[in-house]
Amino acid sequence: MTAPRDIHAYLAEMDDIPGTRVFTAARARQGYHLNQFAMSLMKAANREAFKADERAYLDAWPMTEDQKQAVLDRDFNRCLSLGGNIYFLAKLFSTDGKSFAQAVSTMTDMSFEDYTAMMIAGGRSPVGQRSIKEKY
């Protein structure tokens, strides 16, 4: 056994990473219906219904208006801030015919081409990206 952890200190650290929303219990609770909506797109018939009328499909789910608008806008950073999880949101961008790399690049400040070039060159360096407070 390792020593028991202080849950409050543990959770505080999760919020100290630049450009990252760790999928904590608080986010999982906030995003429950958003993520379950996304999960429903695993079925072909649901994908068709969603594509036919996105607004009507979303209105059948007890999501907040902000969550629905973020989905309609395909604003994935906003979806993450409202409790979305990337593996659930993947059902949404797959429905749009987008790859992981295409969808992921929209959350950065780069074009898909620039993002792909960065990955081929070795990816984003962790230097300066590890901690908001400590800036290292």
Binding site: T24, I86, S105, G123
Partner: protein, 293 residues
Amino acid sequence: MARITAGVACSHIPALGVAVDFDKTGEDYWAPAFAGFDWTRKWEEQEKPDVVILVYNDHATAFDMKFIPTFAIGCAESFTPADEGWGPRQVPVVEGHPDLAWHIAQSAILDEFDMTIINEMEVDHGLTVPLSMMFGKVDKWPCRVIPLAVNVVTYPPPSGNRCWSLGEAIRRAVESYPEDLNVQVWGTGGMSHQLQGPRAGLINREWDNRFLDQLSGSTDALRYIPHIEYLRETGSEGIEMVMWLIMRGAMGQTTEQLHRHYHVPASNTAVGHIVLRPVPDAEASGEGVGAAA
């Protein structure tokens, strides 16, 4: 008795599965990622494992937000490849080993690991991509597979130490199974990657390679890496590497590295791969060297 003969770890990036399925592995972009698996495919043909205990995570496929088991073991006769939103992968159905799986479940629970038991489940790329990497494009997988799903999506996932200890419990369980079986344990996922937010695309080659270094030999330093270090150093999805520690824990105290491969990138991710052989305790301490020779 059943015995654990080797440990394998590798990334389970979905794009690798797409490259296999659509015969793109020879293309300039993909060839260097796949080259490091040629050795292993030949080695597996000689090793002929009877069973692979395959540690992976489900990516919102079999489990949604309704149920979130920390450790779940697949005890079914077979597992069908899932439709993850673009149609199921055209790969063989995965045949399980219910008798050994239930034996491990019972042993682990008595050993104080509260496993979730799964009797029906579809499996996603987390499980089928490693099979493709190690066995290639085949009509039938050459061995039985026991899926062991770990929650690394909703926080907190299990600690590295807990994963390592579960590996030790799996080793005890396998070694108490009466049938003579050649068993491998695979740990999958990682290495550094972040699929979300403005920091997406993070890769940490130095950290990943230190992790690979420390999988062999008799150090157990990796089991004490806290979650926050994976998150800061290897990206939000780098946490998947705790699953490699279940494999490492199942190898016993000392391992020898047989093969290793590292490549950046495959899509958003660093591809890492290692093959380990457990070194018997007597041999590791030097007592068995004469006898082995």
